[in-house]
Subunit: 344 residues, 4 copies
Amino acid sequence: MIHVGIVGGTGYTGVELLRLLLPHPEVEVTVITSRAEAGQRVDEHFPNLRGHCDLCYTTPDPALLDQLDVVFFATPHGVAMDRAPELLAKGVRVIDLGADFRLSDTEVFAQWYGMAHRAPAALAEACYGLPEYYRAQVSEARLVANPGCYPTAVILGFAPLLATGLLNEELLIADCKSGVSGAGRSAKVGLLLPEAADSVSAYGVSGHRHRPEIEAVLSAISGTELEMQFTPHLMPMIRGIHATLYGRLRRPMRDTALQELYARRYAGEPFVDVMPFGSHPATRSVRGANVCRIALHQPRPGQVVILSVIDNLVKGAAGQAVQNMNRMFSLPEDLGLAHVALLP
Amino acid sequence: MIHVGIVGGTGYTGVELLRLLLPHPEVEVTVITSRAEAGQRVDEHFPNLRGHCDLCYTTPDPALLDQLDVVFFATPHGVAMDRAPELLAKGVRVIDLGADFRLSDTEVFAQWYGMAHRAPAALAEACYGLPEYYRAQVSEARLVANPGCYPTAVILGFAPLLATGLLNEELLIADCKSGVSGAGRSAKVGLLLPEAADSVSAYGVSGHRHRPEIEAVLSAISGTELEMQFTPHLMPMIRGIHATLYGRLRRPMRDTALQELYARRYAGEPFVDVMPFGSHPATRSVRGANVCRIALHQPRPGQVVILSVIDNLVKGAAGQAVQNMNRMFSLPEDLGLAHVALLP
Amino acid sequence: MIHVGIVGGTGYTGVELLRLLLPHPEVEVTVITSRAEAGQRVDEHFPNLRGHCDLCYTTPDPALLDQLDVVFFATPHGVAMDRAPELLAKGVRVIDLGADFRLSDTEVFAQWYGMAHRAPAALAEACYGLPEYYRAQVSEARLVANPGCYPTAVILGFAPLLATGLLNEELLIADCKSGVSGAGRSAKVGLLLPEAADSVSAYGVSGHRHRPEIEAVLSAISGTELEMQFTPHLMPMIRGIHATLYGRLRRPMRDTALQELYARRYAGEPFVDVMPFGSHPATRSVRGANVCRIALHQPRPGQVVILSVIDNLVKGAAGQAVQNMNRMFSLPEDLGLAHVALLP
Amino acid sequence: MIHVGIVGGTGYTGVELLRLLLPHPEVEVTVITSRAEAGQRVDEHFPNLRGHCDLCYTTPDPALLDQLDVVFFATPHGVAMDRAPELLAKGVRVIDLGADFRLSDTEVFAQWYGMAHRAPAALAEACYGLPEYYRAQVSEARLVANPGCYPTAVILGFAPLLATGLLNEELLIADCKSGVSGAGRSAKVGLLLPEAADSVSAYGVSGHRHRPEIEAVLSAISGTELEMQFTPHLMPMIRGIHATLYGRLRRPMRDTALQELYARRYAGEPFVDVMPFGSHPATRSVRGANVCRIALHQPRPGQVVILSVIDNLVKGAAGQAVQNMNRMFSLPEDLGLAHVALLP
C-alpha cells in the first residue's frame, strides 16, 4: 500500500486526484492539506466525495508529510519548490502538478513565472512526467514534474512527426481550445458562468506560460531548437482541451505513411489512441478518462493538421500524475486508470 | 461470469450500460443489438468506448439472446413486451429499462402509452426494480422493470414520509428538473443545442407518463390511493435530475425528527445519501455516479421541502439496472458501481 | 431630453441599463459612476458598448448627479438609501434597482438585509415600481423601488387569481428557476462556469430575501395577509427566470374562465403576454426583451399551475426600470423597449 | 416603405431576419413562406415574435412574391437559383442568404454543392454582398449573394493585409470556431444538446464549402490566386464565430503600422470595429449585433495573428442581408441595425 499525501487539496486538480486515488487498489490517501480549510471535512467541500472519503483537511505539517511514500503538490507555482527538497531528503517522492519543475532553464522560469527558482538542485534531478516520452526516467525518478495540460495535448500530437524531422520547424502552429476548469478554481470575474458561457475568446495570444514548456520539450524531442505559435482559447465548457496543430511537411508524404508513423509510435501505449486517418475527435470522448485521442489530416499535400484531445484534469493533470505514480512504484501503469469516458 | 446482452444499444441508456458493464468484474457483454447499425463497430458509434469494446452491433437474433444469462432492453416501449416472454421461457432473465413492465395496471398502461399491453402474463410477474423498496423481490425476480428516471428521484425522496403516513396525501407536488439526455438520443428540433441551451421551460404540465408510475408506487408504499402534481422541466444541461418535492405534515414535527426518519430509513443503503438537514444538493454531485442524494427542509412549520438529485442515466437508468442485476445474481449490490461522481 | 445618471455601473444591471438607455430617443446618459473604475472608459469594461458609448466612469459626485433629471441606482442594498434623500431634495428623481425601498416595513427590512433602514422618510414615499399594478402611483412618483427579479415573475403570475380571492392563500408555492446573472457580477466560486454549468441546485430554501417582498405585495393585492413557499434554484444558463406557481382553487373553475381572467386583466398591457391555455413558455422566448409571458394549466380540477417567464435583467431589472422612467416622465411606456427577444 | 418577402422562414436565418426587419422603420414584411408550415402563425413557431408579428406562413406563391420590392431567400442551396430569375424579371430584387450565388465559377459550385448550377445568367450578374469590399456594386445590384458566415469573419480579418500584398499567400491558416446555430435548425443527432454541449470538435478538416468561397474572394481582393487552410470547429454555444487567422509577413512590420493599416481601412465603416492592438475580442461582445470586431497580434516578428468575431446569424447572415438591402434601396446603411450586443 502506497501512503499518499496531497498538498493543496481544494482546487480542481486536488478533487480530481481524490476521484482517482480513493478507489485506487494500491493507494491509501492519508493526508490532504489546505491552510484555509484545515479542520473541515473534505467531502463538505466536494460533496461528490460523500461516502468515499472521511478525511479532513490539515495544515501542511512536515511531521505528517514525512511519513508518506509520495506527496502530490496541487498548488500554485512557488509552493512545491520550497517544500520538495526536504521531502526528498526524507525519502518521500514528489509529483508536482504545478509548474515549478517543468522548465529546466531557471532563467526561462524566472522570465515566465516572475520569480527566481529557489530549488535549482531539485530542479536538476526532476523528470518531465510524460511517460510516453520519458518512461524510463519516470521509473527511476524521485521528483516528477507533471506536464501542463496544453503541453500534454500539443506534445503528444506533434512529437512523432517532429522526432523524425519531417516537419518544417519554422511553421508550427498550435491553436488550442480549453474548458474553463483549466483556469483553476479561483474566484475571477472572467470565469463566472455569465461571462464565460455562450462565448469564445482567445487569451494570451502574445505569450503564455505553456509556450516555453512546449518549445523546450519538443526541441529536445526533435533535436532542433524550435519555436511555435501557441494560441490558447477559452471555451464555454467545463473540461477538455482540443489542440488543432498545423505543420508543413519538408517532403511529400502519403496519408497512409503519416498514419503508420503515428500508429507505430503509439502502439502499446495504454493512454494514447490514434484514431483512423481523417477522424474528428471530440473532447467529450475523453471526458473523465486518462487518454489522449489523436487524428491526422492532410487537406492539401504537405499541409498536415493534427487533432489532439484530452481531458485537461485527467491526462492533462491528475490522471497523468497517477500514471506517473504507478510507474514510480513499479505498478501496472494503468492501475486505477481504466475509466471509460463519460458520454454523453 | 454473467453473459449479458443489450437490446437497443444506440441510445444513451445503451452506451451508459456499456460504460458500467464493460469494466464490471463479473460480467461479459457478448451481444449488443441494433437493427439500424448491425455490423458496425460499437466504438465507431460511441468513440468513448475505443479501447474498451470490440463488439459490433448485431440484429436482435433470438439464437444469440437465448444463450445469455440476462438481457437488458434499452428500447422504446413496446419492444420488450414482445421479446421478454420467450426469453424468460428459455431461462434468460430480463431487465427492461423501458416502460413496458412498470405499470401493473394494463388499462393505465394503455391510456398513457397508447397501446394495449401484449404480455400481461409477464407483466404479472414483473418486479419494480427499486431495490431500496423491493430488494427481496428483485433478488427473486426473473423480470425486472427498471424504474423511470423521474420516478426514482421522486419516490426515494417522498417514500419515507409517505410510508409513515405523516404527509397529507392530497397536497403533494413534485417539481422536477431534468437534463436533456433524459429525452433520449433522438433527432428532435426541440432538443437541438440552439433550442435547449440557455433556456428553461416546463413540459407535459397537464400530464406525463411518469406521473401514473410515481402515483402507483407511492400509493403502494403509503397504503393510500394518492395523487400528485408532477411538473417536469427541461434544463439546459446534459445529465441530472433535481426533484423539488413539496408536502404538508399532518402534525407538527421537529426538524431533527424528520432528519432522523430519513437517516434511519436509508441507513446502510449503498446508493442513497441523506445529507445534513438544510443542505442543497447539486446534480453535479452525482454526475456519473449511482447515487441519490436527499436533503430535507422545513421552511415553515408543517411545510416540508425535500430535495432529491440523481444522474438520470445512472441511478435513473443504467446504474440502477446494474444494481438490480447484481442483486438478481447474488453479487454484492455495489459491484462495479463504486464510481465517484465527476466534479467539476 | 431626459438627463440620466447611473450609480454603480459595473454590474449586470448597469450594463443592461446602458444597452436600453443609450439608444433611447428621449434619453441622454450623462453620468455613470463607479468608485473602483473611475476614469476608465465604460466600453473598455463592457466591449459590447464599443461604438455606442463614449463615457468614462466617474466617482459618484453629488455636484454631477444634482444636475440630472433622474438617477438609477444599480448598487448593492444600503447605497441608495444614503443618497436618495439629498437627490430628491434637489428635485432629482430616483429609481432604485436595489432593495432599499422595496419593503415598506423597516423591521422586515432590517431582519432580511441585516441593517437598519436609514431613510425611513424616503421609504414612506417610495412607490413599488410594478406598473401593471401601481401605474398611477409610478406616474406621480419621485422615488421608485424597482421590484426584484423573482418578485416580478411571481407577482405577475399569481396576482390576477389572488386579487379575486379565488385561490386558497395557505397553499401557495413558487418554485423558481433563475439564470446565474441573477446573482450579480461578483467573483464568487459558486458562480464560476465549472461550478454552475451542467448542474442544477436549489438555494435559500429555508428563506430568501425576495420572499417577504413577494408576500407583502401579494398580501396587499389580495387583501389578505398571506404566506408563500418560495424556492429559488440556480440554472446553468446566463439569463432568464422561470416561475412555476402552484395554487389551489377555492371553488371549481373552468379552464376557459381561468384563461379569460388573465386575458382580461392583462389586456392592453404592453409587456405582459398571456399565452394560450396549456402553453409552456421558454425563458429564451423573452431573452433580451421587456416582457413577461404567462401560461395557465389546470392538470386536475382545482390544481392550478401558472408558468411565468421573464428575462431577469430586463423585465426583472433594467427594462422595468426604463418602463418606470417612461411613465414618470410621461413618455409612452414602451418607448425604447420594443426589442424582439433574441432566439435562438 | 419597402415591401419584403422571406422565402423559407422556419430556420434560424428566417427568424433572425424577422427580428431585424419587423421593427425596421422603412420595411413592411408582407410575405413569409414555408411549404411545411403554410397556414400556421409565425409566432406559434417562434414565440419570441409574439406581439410583433401577425403573419402566417404561406406557400411560396409567385403571385404574392411578384408584388414585392425585395425577396430574401433563407433556403438551402438549390432553391434560390430556381426562383430568382423570374423574380428579377418581374422587377423584384433578390438577396440570397444561401449559397447559390456566392461562387461565380459554376464548376467549383458543382464540385462543392453536388449539383449543376441552373441559373448561370443570374449568377453572372450577382454581386457578392460584403459591403465593406463591394459597396458600389451592392448599391446597383438586383441580385445579392449574401456571404457565408465563416467567409464574412475570415475575409474581413485577412483582407486588409492581403490587399496590400504584405502576407505570404502560401501560409494562410484560418482556424474557426462556430456556435451550433451555424449548422441550421435541422434535426440532426450530432447537434442535440447532449451531443454538442460541453464538448469541442473540428469538422470538415479535409474540406468545407466555405473554403472555396473564402479563397475566391480573397484571391480577387489580393490579386493573387491563393489557397488557405480552413479548419472549422463546433463550439458548445448557440451563436458566434471566432476566427483565429494566421499569416506570415513578407517583410518586417511594426505593430503600430499593422494597427494603422487596419484602422485606416475600416475607418468610417459602421460595422467593423478595429480594437486596440493586442485585444482579445469575445464572441459575446457581438451577440445579436451587426458588427465584426477585429484585433491584431504579432507574437513574434513576422507572425501575425488576427482575431475576428461576429454573430453568425447577424453580421454572418441576417444582419448583413439587411445592410445590403439598406444599400440597395439607398437607405442609411445602418438603419434598423444599431442594436447593442446582448452582454451578458
